[in-house]
Symmetry: D2
Subunit: 312 residues, 4 copies
């Protein structure tokens, strides 16, 4: 991440400006408000604004006149109850807004979550920065042979070096040619006064999917947790998971009771099919259950073994 | 509206609790935060929370690091531009949450706007209050003869008196029987110790559509304006329009620049079909345009005449 | 249910009209197309239209050019995989449209599912029929004492008789007064030529929540299953559950492979929290686990016992 | 566009398979069902499925038991009325599904319309084809000097040639290196047996935004028209507009009455702000209105002149 001095100044100025409000305030989140949490080589996540706290969930579930809070133990119990029984609407009553800088291929996965509001930096209007994602060597994984969607062992030696070299060289060249086609220097003047410069909306097509974009992303607490449950998960691609992991920490600061229930019932909870829970019932009666008589397919049987051994 | 002393105390307590925040604050909205604005005979609208202000719209349109604001005149120009060209996503970056008490038949219209978050007071869990809507005499309109959806002249004399008598008597009786079926006194004890009492989820079906319900309703600025453009409109039923009117005032306090643009381009703007604008073009050239040669249907022709005479 | 002869004629006419199409066709669903399945005393569910079949789910998951189908066993495996891993988007590729007649208090629960398209019969424009829901004696349940949301034992004898009497009498009177206020005979002429008649949008407020309304309801397969998982569930109110049950049968006809996976992974599957699955792991190792050392609350512990004994 | 023989065979096979249905059928749309309409150099749009027709709109507006149709003239009138008054829910009752092949930068604009269902070809699982968009010379526009979002004059001579050369060379090289990193020949065997090959989810980041992707896109009629009103518009980027234009023709085939109303009220209709319509009223009274006394900003004044001269 490389915030310019000017950007950091703007952030510091926002942070210094404290005003009184009658709204619910979450001091632990205010502490990090506006600050950029670095993710990957040039990305970040910043909380820009938020609305509501754990009490707002309780208040909505009770449709009360005041804050809704009784005792913390009662609130905790209610929040766990709501989470367990998938009563989602009370969690929709809180909202959070982020500023995120992320590679385009990550943005393409992220945007598939449609129940959020997004404003993306426009490459039709503006010129993108010379910033592209190059994986750390530890992330240069081979294609998994057992799982079409996954990563296998990390590439080593010459093969790894060659991949890094290709990614860097191609990205650098793509950007150089992007600027050449635009014919626009950093100060906005033409590089070559005899050329017109290609329209921005066209020139951008030469950039590759590892270039960084940025957006404002606003989401309610319920959909935020849904996003995290899919993306802070071992099956998610590493490059989006690191964003989700950074946001998990923000969730903990914002709504600690909800976070606790989310961890308990979603993040580390499990779903079992009818056949899988039937198999567990038989095991608990002391029966020996085999893949063949479990009614489970090979893959689901392996997943069940995995779960029963203590993995999520 | 009849807030109990206990409810008003809870509201006063919330209002007295002022804390520092780094977020954007709108003093004109803080002034009325939590307070109940009376609507109809027992209803109200209260702002419970909000997120963002006019600057957040500008900030999202520019995807900037700081507040996004340049000069007020530039911000106003940008907001008008966005509104005029129906660039809706920057307006989705602000959010507001209301507590509303309203008759059930109004709630049924309201809920048709699906792009909002709702938590309604549950008559499965809880007992509804003895509060029902009785129109003011000035609102006792006859069915319009020209417009199937509209209201005609106000009922007078004996007919009006009879309507009010029926509405009051039937509502009173419906509630009396609701309580009798529930067999539950105000303190929760059985009215008749020999009866069990009908389940709440069933007893409620005896209440009529003019009984009051309440809910938390949370919506982003864009969808809030869409709601207002449909419901703060002459074609909307009076009983929902008065809620929308009360909320228009809240919009003005919250985001004054956006409100100005909304009035200009939505609330008092007009849409003209191809044939309608063609007719206007011909008129401006000095031609006499008739319904017959305008290509417009009877109804749209009448609407065009209406618009050109200075009505919305 | 009481379809008029005219309505049944319209339905028969639609059913008789068979045309060739190149689209995917589901004969088992065509069999019942347009027919009204009776629900409660006057309600029904009718399938009006549908788009796609099991193959469309497979096709979308593979983004293929043809039907997407390989062998039935492979398709079944893929559909189970998608369901188990909550890959929801392929199921969004099928769509179904219903015509439903239902009591208003049921409609108010139903509409909380916002991810569907709805067109409801308008009581602003039109006059509602004299049709209201009266529960069967077996459904006249008392309020549950252990569960605020549930039903207890069925009311008996005099208490049950009194409830039925009140519901019938109040509904009848509400409708009589509705018509009196409207001042409109069945043929549309005024009942009393000296009166104007109250506007329809106002008169309707005298009707109670057990009156029937009707709507067109269109939903994609994914959201349809979500609706069914919540409403064809023991926790759902009986009066909405019977609609969901009728629709389960339609789901089975429409997409049999998806239905099978839905039953297996949703309807009869279970979710266990981190502490609950930890308790199960300990039990499987032969440990004795108690409520106290399980880390589960009283309620969740009871639910876990229930699940492990073989109830959903 | 280059459909392989295998793909064209699959399409022909689907087209040859005609079955009877009781559903509404639109012969004009069946004619082109499954066929690929070429767009840009390698893209296409194919209708895969549809549900409903003009009558379904009418039926939903009337909540009727049969087809809803009265006479064509009455249906036309109702559809125009619904469109003019922005009654959107009846149009949500029809649904259409497309298979689209499009450059990634177009897909990124397209996906901002969130009220649709999407299944995209996955570059995590699969290998993308060597297909990228190269603009026709006539589309190689310069950046507009007056409008930050627009295109100016077309590039000529050496500058145009250089741009095309850069785009082609960089895309070719990006793909070559993509395959080299994957280390996978067309038949799936390793190119170099001593290398493992980079994971697909990583290698794809080297491809540029002009590479083609494909997806299934399903949308209701209301949101489809909203998409078309924004994208079949002079302000839309050319590369997405050509897709929208191809889809306009499909809309005409599918729902001819709705299409007519859409053209009349949306596509060629205009919106005027309060100040703009006030200016028109004054002009119609014979007053001379100037920019200065119109209350309009410079830009909106120019737009009004444009509209009054007969441009959309």
């Amino acid at each position: 991440m490389a915030l310019t001095t000017e950007q950091q100044d703007e952030i510091d100025q926002l942070r210094a400006n404290v005003q009184p409000t009658r709204r619910a305030v979450v001091p632990a989140l205010e502490e990090v408000l506006y600050q950029a949490v670095p993710v990957l080589d040039h990305g970040f996540v910043r909380v820009i604004d938020y609305m509501g706290d754990d009490s707002a969930v309780v208040q909505a579930a009770r449709v009360s006149y005041g804050r809704g809070t009784k005792k913390v133990t009662e609130d905790r119990g209610l929040i766990h109850y709501l989470m367990r029984h998938r009563h989602s609407t009370p969690f929709e009553m809180c909202e959070i807004k982020f500023h995120v800088k992320l590679p385009i291929f990550v943005a393409r996965q992220w945007i598939r979550h449609r129940t959020a509001n997004v404003n993306e930096y426009s490459a039709r209007y503006s010129i993108l920065d010379r910033e592209f994602y190059i994986p750390q060597p530890a992330q240069l994984a081979a294609q998994s042979v057992s799982n079409r969607q996954g990563r296998g062992a990390v590439l080593q030696g010459a093969e790894a070096a060659r991949v890094l070299e290709l990614l860097k060289a191609d990205s650098t060249q793509a950007y150089d040619h992007y600027i050449e086609m635009l014919n626009e220097a950093e100060d906005g003047t033409p590089i070559d006064a005899n050329r017109q410069g290609l329209a921005r909306e066209l020139a951008r097509m030469n950039l590759s999917l590892n270039f960084y974009t940025q957006w404002y992303w606003k989401v309610d607490l319920q959909n935020f947790m849904h996003f995290l449950s899919l993306r802070a998960d071992a099956h998610a691609q590493y490059e989006i998971r690191v964003f989700a992991d950074a946001m998990l920490d923000i969730l903990r600061r914002w709504v600690p009771l909800t976070f606790e229930a989310f961890e308990q019932h979603r993040l580390h909870g499990v779903s079992l099919s009818k056949n899988a829970i039937d198999a567990v019932r038989r095991m608990l009666k002391g029966e020996t259950v085999t893949e063949a008589d479990s009614g489970l397919g090979k893959r689901e049987w392996a997943e069940l073994q995995h779960v029963l051994k203590g993995h999520d």
